[in-house]
Symmetry: C2
Subunit: 757 residues, 2 copies
């Protein structure tokens, strides 16, 4: 087998060289010769017409007032968006859902011992900033889907409040049982913090923004600079999105008015303890009043105090009550019907609801999307007819839990599974580099799109700028050489945190999330200061990265909608999955090695010898060394995937070799139908163990990271959580899914072979 | 050659196995059977008699008042030390030198723009601390050997002020030309900061203690905890010790009253710009007033401000005037004459002068040394007679520049080169782990000593505790396995920072520096708060690590003084030097690779593509790729060293195989004389290029690190400073020195062979 493998590899290398050269040719991947030229003209016209001034105008209007879920200005924005789509020639409708959206009724946070201190929990207006004083319309600082509660308990500082931090607390001999924890924002999605705190016995949770992370240590604070001022607070949802996103009352189904709803007491995704976000001005007196061990070096933030862990003597009273109200939310859905393949849908979306004014989050993104919509409308008037149906979505209620998009996807799940080609998401952006996360079958495709867009600061392509950044950031010479040898850069896997989640993880729709960032950063996220004044002083001031974003997402939409052959690439998918499987094997081995080594150190006396009697550490306990896992079925599935991906690629290259002329002669309808199912094949209808809503078997947000992705989640999390038999079982599930995927690709390869014969 | 090499290696392995087993036997390395038993009894008796209470009593008395060079209480301490040696039966004399010791006459530090602020430059008394109010006797905070100066200039923050920091400033486009720099303490010896600042054009230098490094971020501040309070200041010398330590007026010769002295204007080791240390209370307003780029993340300290780099708008006025006075300093030198080999000297020392009260630095060390002296006196009275002469030294004037020890070594250089076996140094200590730095020919020896001393907190040997700490801290499984497979742990090479410097680097005396630390730390170093109250609340409270230190150093002295055969080991030396040479080759290769890679990135456009237009960075310039260096002569010298070290070791093992009986029958005088010269052979009379005072060719403090060692300094620093022809030249110098060393060892091997025949 070895020699034939070598031959195959050599063949692929030759083929890739041809493809790489092809990048420089006029032809576009997936287009026949004639269509390729036409497409390039339309795309060029599209990108030229995108206007930063328009984006700035939309942004100013959409962010003029607070527009959280259920607010008057949220309704205003929705109506304006719908009217604009209509004005620009789109077929538009508003789709509404009834969802649970709690808002604060009472918020009390005070220290009762050893000194009394009452937290302000207020973000003051800033004179220079004209919208920061719209206090009557602002939602107070709170964490949505915290339960009601009234607790008084000693305080414990838990760093970022992730599982590793609790392991370190345990070694320090500090328990949070019966305590209120104070965690800083960062290192995990915020909803993870109260979840892990509760698992360790805490009765309440405060989350504060440390100045080292996004306040004065990071840079000048607002309004002098973009960073968080002393009283700025990060609002945000703490619903357990790792179980399911969307309306807490209607998991898995659309929250239509007639939907069957859970009773409040049956909902599993609320926090188990009350949670309140606080500013560093409010946090400092609490932290300064802690005694107990000095916090480990990595735990120390930027406040001018010695960080202690506690518990106590600081004792804190936290009382929270919420209005547990139902709200109507309204998604704006706009279409341009496909001319020939109307049943194949290319979907594009960004949310429009904000926590307060949200000039960056999400107005920077929805404004770019609207400029795409205006320009596509213009192209339509000029005679452009997309082959496929294009659906532009403006989502409501993303902030509380990706609700607008999730309810829509759940409502239309069957149609999406039948018709969706891909979903392209954006959200906030600032200045800098193109970041892409998404389905790896679209990796080559989005790399090609990125070569078409010019970076507004550097006058090179955004592809090139990102590539050079990667070279600059590479950790080793090897990594740099690998980057330099490739004509595409790798894209990252999707976790969660924006509206692609239901598309990818629930419906199995190939998805991409795009943004520009990496230069401007700041500390106004989810505060009253994320507004037009802040954005136009510190972020994408001239909306030129808004233009780049619209050009990138819009070009992707155009190309997917117009392509003769859908531009999926499965060799990217295969090599990514192969890397994941290698990682999993290393993870299992490392875990065994670590347990073995720790056991050995315990018997050698390392822990007792190195524990300072004045700062004693609890020695860890001996642990059973895990069994070896059987990865054979995964390896076999990988071989099958490799085989069919290679097969498809060889046929594809053959089809593309004459500049796409072969493609032009073929009927590709059957192939496209099969390709469209390729991402669906990566899902399992039963979903992940413990959280069946998540169907995708390659990507999911981590159960203990919240936003951060866990690839091959069923296997990876079982290993991480030392559940060995679950890991074995999950290896088999994933293997089957990969075998199915290989079969779908093989079928597409055969169909394509027949089509171009 | 390969097969004979393998045989040799196998032989050595067998031999080492025997030696390793021998560790468990009653015999001591270097002792004949009978003497071994007697020695063990004396050593046991010595260690049992060491009293922590005595150490505490000495410490209380010696640190009762400020005792800097030339002060009344420095004289008091000297006289008390001499009287005690006498009382305990030692032959004692005081050896005096006349040295230059500047003290402050005028100190002004003020900000004149954009707001006026006058620095206090005062350390206030603390009510709980009874000696902190001895202000009439305290030296004010200053940096000794700063020049007089009166400058007013914009301020620039330069992080730690090491060469890398200036490279980063250059990329930010910030120049310190004509500016006053403010650097934080840490990452280099303090004297390096004004030196590098001057090289870059600065006209003044402030050095402050950032709370992140040793203030509130590190832990609770004094008097609540051991860390630096807001107004605490680190005094210290800034003389250019990397050129030569000791009295600035008498480089290379003893500062006796009749010595030839440099004129002040000819002295090269003063700073070139005025320098003043400041507290973080005084530094904060200055740093807060800086604008310009935000400091890179790694540069940000613990003050509650955004760290900017400048220059300005903060403009600072610094005016310093000093009394450039001569002072008499007085070293206390005490002897127990050797019974049979009086011309072989085992030397032990610790300084007694302090910046202020100095309970930790140096009283913790000198008190342990005095308890050794008392106990050795007791053994003498009980009939113990050391074979060799033991010399105990209490050094004056270490703080301004290792002056007491350096002048004594320079005065007695010829005698030392003829007679010195080894020098054992201590200085400050606290709680924790035994740390050893020193000559690698003593590595196995000091490991054996460390097995005899019990850790006061853990009741295991201090050898074992350090070994387990190393296992805990190892970065890789490989490193851990290497540690576990050895019966000795490696010792680190000596740089500078205490009184071993002249012994090792000028006179070529094999040296060891010992301390216990790693648990208690703090921020009172060189401040008025390093006093008895602080030490007995936060450091080695019960003086039990003082006991361990006296037991360790004293056992080493006893064993060196009594051994039949001096316990040098050259296979340790060889393997260490081999590692150094490998490091140097890698260093040269990495430097080439880095330059080549950077040149490539410049042509690819990496730097222009990744420079944020709002925080522009200057792209580095193309640089010539360095030539390949010829390491052949070093490799050949290494082979010779390997050969003679192996030869000596084989003969030694043969001599020790019968439990040392062979050794007892032999006359070892000639071998010992040759062994005693082995460290001298590692020196070159011409010294290092640019700094001929430093004779040792394996170890030196770095020209740009100050304390931190540079091994094989002539070669390493030439490569680091990209002086390729100097590097080639130095490779040859070092090769010759290693060939000489190999010859000395070979001669000793032959002599030993003859002695035991």
């Amino acid at each position: 087998m070895r020699s034939s493998f070598v031959t195959l590899t050599a063949l692929i290398l030759v083929a890739w060289t041809l493809l790489a050269q092809q990048d420089a040719r006029p032809g576009l991947a997936g287009f026949s010769g004639d269509n390729s030229r036409a497409e390039q003209e339309w795309e060029q016209r599209f990108r030229s017409a995108i206007s930063p001034d328009n984006i700035g105008d939309y942004a100013k209007l959409l962010s003029a007032r607070p527009h959280h879920v259920g607010s008057a200005y949220d309704k205003h924005d929705e109506e304006w968006l719908a009217s604009k789509f209509k004005e620009w020639g789109w077929d538009v409708h508003v789709e509404s859902f009834q969802i649970l959206f709690p808002t604060p009724k009472e918020r009390v946070l005070e220290m009762v011992e050893p000194v009394r201190f009452v937290a302000k929990l207020q973000e003051p207006p800033i004179p220079e900033d004209p919208s920061s004083n719209q206090q009557a319309e602002q939602l107070p600082s709170y964490n949505a889907y915290s339960i009601d509660g009234d607790v008084t308990a000693p305080l414990v500082y838990v760093n970022y409040g992730i599982p590793d931090d609790y392991e370190e607390l345990e070694r320090m001999g500090v328990s949070v049982k019966g305590a209120i924890v104070i965690a800083r924002y960062g290192a995990s999605w915020r909803g993870i913090k109260p979840k892990v705190a509760f698992e360790h016995g805490a009765v309440g949770c405060l989350i504060y923004s440390d100045p080292r992370d996004d306040g004065y240590t990071a840079g000048d604070v607002y309004p002098k600079g973009p960073w968080r001022p002393a009283e700025g607070v990060q609002r945000g949802s703490v619903v357990d999105m790792a179980l399911y996103p969307g309306d807490p009352l209607t998991p898995g189904v659309g929250a239509t008015s007639d939907a069957k709803r859970l009773k409040l007491e049956d909902v599993k995704v609320f926090t188990k303890i009350p949670v309140q976000p606080v500013s560093y001005a409010d946090a400092q007196p609490l932290l300064a009043a802690l005694a107990g061990p000095v916090a480990p070096a990595r735990w120390r933030g930027g406040l001018p105090i010695t960080y202690h862990v506690g518990p106590g003597p600081a004792k804190v009273h936290l009382k929270l009550k919420f209005n547990w109200d139902m709200k109507q939310i309204n998604d704006v859905i706009a279409r341009i019907p496909g001319a020939s393949e109307a049943d194949e849908w290319v979907i594009r979306g960004n949310h429009f609801d904000a926590w307060v004014n949200g000039a960056q989050d999400p107005v920077s993104g929805i404004s770019a999307e609207m400029e795409e919509a205006r320009t596509l409308g213009e192209l339509s008037k000029a005679g452009w007819k997309p082959k496929r149906t294009i659906i532009y979505c403006a989502w409501d209620a993303e902030e509380p839990g990706l609700i607008g998009s999730t309810e829509w996807v759940e409502t239309h799940a069957d149609e999406l599974r039948a018709h969706a080609v891909a979903y392209i998401n954006t959200d906030s952006h600032s200045r800098g580099y193109l970041n892409v996360e998404g389905s790896h079958s679209l990796e080559t495709f989005i790399n090609q799109v990125a070569r078409e867009v010019t970076d507004p600061e550097k006058n090179i392509s955004v592809w090139q700028r990102r590539q050079l950044r990667r070279i600059a950031d590479a950790n080793s010479g090897e990594e740099r050489e690998r980057l330099r040898s490739r004509t595409t850069w790798p894209i990252q896997a999707l976790g969660s945190g924006s509206d692609y989640t239901a598309f990818l993880d629930f419906a199995g729709v190939a998805s991409l999330d795009l943004n520009y960032s990496g230069e401007t950063d700041g500390g106004v996220y989810h505060s009253v200061y994320d507004d037009f004044y802040w954005f136009t002083h510190f972020s994408d001031v001239g909306f030129v990265y808004g233009r780049a974003l619209a050009q990138t997402a819009g070009t992707a939409v155009l190309r997917l909608a117009d392509a003769d052959l859908l531009p999926f690439n499965f060799t990217d998918l295969f090599s990514t999955v192969r890397d994941y499987v290698n990682e999993l094997q290393r993870l299992a081995e490392n875990q065994s090695d670590q347990i073995r080594e720790r056991n050995r150190q315990i018997s050698e006396g390392v822990f007792s010898a190195t524990s300072d009697p004045q700062k004693p550490l609890v020695a860890p306990a001996m642990e059973a060394v895990p069994p070896h896992l059987n990865f054979a079925s995964l390896q076999n599935a990988l071989d099958a995937l490799n085989h069919s991906a290679d097969h498809y690629e060889r046929v594809y290259i053959k089809a593309a070799q004459d500049g796409g002329a072969t493609l032009g002669r073929a009927s590709l309808a059957q192939v496209n139908l099969e390709l469209l199912q390729s991402e669906r094949a990566l899902t399992d209808a039963n979903g992940l163990l413990w959280r069946p809503w998540f169907k995708h078997q390659l990507y999911a947000p981590g159960f203990y990271t919240g936003y951060g992705v866990k690839t091959v989640p069923a296997v990876r999390e079982a290993i991480e959580q030392k559940q060995w038999s679950t890991a074995e079982q999950s290896i088999n599930t994933v293997s089957k899914v990969l075998e199915n995927e290989a079969a779908v690709i093989e079928k597409a390869a055969i169909s394509l072979e027949q089509a171009i014969r």
